[in-house]
Symmetry: C2
Subunit: 231 residues, 2 copies
């Protein structure tokens, strides 16, 4: 029944096929004419498509770009991939990305051992380091508490953090966790857990620099008011 009512179309593009075919009808025919990419190129495009926000068009563009580049450039990229994957692990102290057992930041002699900034992800360490304002140490949780995703305190690096914070030299722990629902939960949980050992602070939320009061959302504005300081 269903079949009988379908619009008959000899190929996926059949209808337009006739429109597009004014002269050499004989040369235009649908499908079955072999793969579009030569196999090694197809495999490269397939692999590139696994990257985040790389779709079929971008993957094709990247692959064709790479085929045009000198051999050495492609070999450098492949080597950098293998090398980074093989050598970059976690710092044993703060769990930031590191090619050494203990990361550069933890080993740095001029950095302040008494302040630990707690973040959820190595990306946050990178973002904070780019400000060049913080000279204490970090602790990377590896996520935030999220019961929906089965992530409780045990799945994060909270035990090692507790161990670090219980050392006598620690003067302050700064919680720098994004203010999502899960992030707030994690901040409150860590606040309660760590307050017996040391001063616990959290980063400020408010109007971003260059932000316009008129266009700020209500929650941000409420936080900005709440966090007001004397001039």
């Amino acid at each position: 029944m269903e079949d009988g009512r379908r619009f008959h179309c000899p190929s996926a593009l059949g209808f337009y096929g006739y429109l597009l075919d004014p002269i050499s009808k004989i040369s235009l025919a649908p499908g079955g004419l072999g793969a579009i990419y030569t196999p090694p190129l197809a495999r490269l495009i397939e692999q590139l498509q696994r990257l985040p926000s790389v779709g079929p068009k971008t993957a094709q563009r990247l692959a064709l770009h790479l085929l045009k580049r000198p051999d050495a450039e492609v070999e450098n990229l492949a080597q950098a991939l293998l090398d980074a994957k093989k050598r970059v692990g976690q710092c044993q102290v703060c769990f930031h990305l590191s090619a050494e057992p203990v990361c550069d930041i933890c080993r740095h002699p001029q950095r302040d051992n008494s302040v630990i900034c707690v973040v959820s992800d190595p990306r946050d360490v990178i973002a904070l380091e780019k400000t060049r304002e913080f000279r204490g140490k970090y602790h990377v949780l590896g996520g935030v508490i999220s019961p929906m995703d089965g992530i409780g305190p045990e799945q994060l690096t909270i035990q090692p953090l507790l161990h670090r914070v219980s050392q006598p030299e620690i003067a302050e722990v700064i919680l720098a966790i994004s203010p999502s629902v899960e992030g707030e939960t994690t901040t409150l949980y860590l606040g309660k857990l760590l307050q017996p050992f040391t001063k616990v602070t959290r980063i400020a939320f408010g109007l971003p620099m260059g932000g316009d009061l008129e266009y700020a959302d209500e929650v941000t504005l409420a936080r900005a008011l709440e966090g007001r300081r004397e001039l």
Copy 2:
């Protein structure tokens, strides 16, 4: 003189440094606190940034994504890169990308040998193949005539094209070159060169399917009028 008038700022971010520093002044200090990325990660980000339309932020995101993926996935990508670069060359007949001396399209027994579609770039072959409408053969010029960039007919695969077109089985050459100034020059040049041997056609220019007449540019509209056909 100049120096004396400069606004004194102890670091690049010094001014904001004071604003951002309400509690632990001692922990906030500018610069010189080591590299932001561990070296193998820095090298990977640097290599990824060489890709087209990949800036520092995207490169960082891609690199951190790859570090989280299983070893096998990263190895597959590295291997696909090396393999594609090593194995993909040009077809000896049509100069399309191919891992074999003669490409799949040129070797395909069901494709029409009498029609050659001339394009400037392998990407154009891929785009035309995706329509699944053309079952003739291709010829990739490797660019368009552009005296400004030092590209004359000798830099393109025009000699081999002339050799192919002079074969008796050729019934038609379709010129499918993008209508830029250089593309038009190339189309006109090839038209004159090839007309003594065979029928030479070019693809139609006009309103794109789904395009709105009102919003089409004048040149496209003029071409659409010029290329009108009887119903």
